[in-house]
């Protein structure tokens, strides 16, 4: 009972912060609402006994990436985005269409999964299980992701250097 209550609380806050993030006109507030959203998602992972994924969600997304986002927003001092919105008036219907389509896909998936009734697996969420799965069963995809990330890092350095040189 308490778990279900906690779930609905987190889900409510997650949804309202997500909506607020899109609706807010102030980029800093948008970023903050996204942080709150990530935090609630981490809480939902914890309730699914996926401790490791939840804490990594906080460390990586809420703690590192969003700090960088805020950093950039503050450095650029974007102000209010009204002026930028004016010229993009044409893209709005397309954006709505895409958003509704994606939402329908997600909702259909949710109903499919609910019908399938997967059982939560307590031990699978621990760091030990995830680590051994990643480095034995899924080591090749892991290596590919590592190569991709390295390429991304080198590419960003290259771009930054070209501009400064």
């Amino acid at each position: 009972m308490a778990e279900r209550l906690f779930f609905f609380l987190c889900a409510l806050v997650a949804i309202s912060t997500a909506v607020g993030m899109v609706a807010s006109r102030n980029p800093v507030r948008s970023a903050l609402l996204l942080v709150a959203n990530f935090f609630c998602l981490a809480m939902l992972y914890f309730t699914l006994s996926a401790q490791f994924v939840g804490i990594i969600q906080i460390i990586v997304y809420a703690g590192a990436i969003m700090v960088l986002f805020l950093f950039v927003i503050m450095l650029l001092n974007l102000g209010s985005p009204e002026a930028q919105l004016q010229e993009r008036e044409l893209r709005r219907p397309l954006a709505w269409l895409l958003a509704i389509g994606l939402f329908l896909v997600l909702v259909s998936q949710v109903f499919l999964v609910v019908n399938a009734q997967p059982q939560p697996h307590g031990a699978a969420g621990t760091a030990r299980m995830i680590g051994s799965a990643m480095f034995t069963q899924w080591s090749f995809p892991l290596l590919i992701v590592a190569v991709l990330l390295t390429v991304g890092v080198i590419g960003s350095i290259l771009l930054a250097r070209r501009r400064s040189a």
């Binding site: 903050l32 401790q51 490791f52 990594i56 906080i58 809420a62 700090v67 805020l70 950093f71 503050m74």
Partner: protein, 423 residues
Amino acid sequence: MTPSELGWALLRVAIVLGFLLGTLPLVIWFERRAIAWFQDRIGPNRLGPFGLFQPIADAVKLFFKEEIVPANADRFIWSLAPALSLFPALVAAATIPWGPNRLLTPVADVEIGILYFLAMSSLAAYGVLLAGWSSNNKYSLLGGLRASAQVISYELGMGLALATAIVASGSLRMTEMVAIQAEPLWGVVPFLHNWLVFTPWGLVGAALFFICMLAETNRAPFDLPEAESELVAGYQTEYSSMKFAAFFMGEYMAVLTISGIMTTCFLGGYLAPVNWSPLQSLAETGGGIFVPLATLTGALAPPFWFLLKVAALVFVFVWVRATLLRLRYDQLMNLGWRVLIPVGLMNLALLTVYLLYGWLPALVGYVLAIALYAIWAGERARRVERRQVILYAEARPYRRAESSPSSTPLSEGKGLPQEVLHG
């Protein structure tokens, strides 16, 4: 969760929060007295014995001060920022074990204990960043930006240092990390504990972690976000009254918590330095009165040793603040990215060599790494280009060529250009 479990959990929370909030005035008083001692002053000594009640007076003063809100501040975020800086400091200590009794400590003995601390400490950047931005003050903004850049940079080094501890103990659970360190030293000395700091990888890891923990808590010599000589008081410039006090409390609680983490991961946690107690051995041989005494000391000793180690680390914090000069910003970034991270990666690699091939190859690896570094550093020192630093006043060609170069322009004010005198 049964009611008794809930009761124990609440008691554990109360112990940790009570300790953090209760020790806070003591730490502030200690820092002021110790800094005064280092600087050959007396420090606050009027209120109460040795000036012990001074922090209470300060708190009362801050409580009754007027709260000034900057006119163009983003009100909501401006009020949120102190809370965001206080929250991680209050909760981050939840996974640190103080003793072997699992009913009293830690608050939550979770499998991801050390990652939980990393997550909470990474959230601490928000308070500072948002305080700097929402104050609508250029000094505050610069302080906030500096803080966020610094915290992101040093989190990597800290993660690598903690990874050493994690790999060496084979667990993310902090109680298990302490239990691993309870083994005999190097597996051979029975009366000493195998604290991680006694191993080469642990020593390097502890040194890295110590540097990173100074930077993470924004303490001297890494206190650039609040460098008073450049940024007034950085991100806290516009804060007054209890909101200022919240930042202050957050900083000192972070110091206490991070000292606890270092104690747990590298300094053997709540373990005594020597694995032998006279009362215990007397109780085993003689019995009688010594049995209850041994039980009592056995219960009290682990928290005592833990708190002693934390207190020693807090003293080192103050010591470093009183001794070292503040780093320049580029020096800070260089140290983080070009020294701490490579050293941390090297250390981690050599630790895995130890785990896979035993201690001899690892030791050879350490000697090789140090030798290579010495050769490289010597080569660099030989080839260093002598750079001439030209002061602004000298760089401008305002003097005629015949004036002697030995006379410094600052000693004779009339030779200075207008920009220097009035700018």
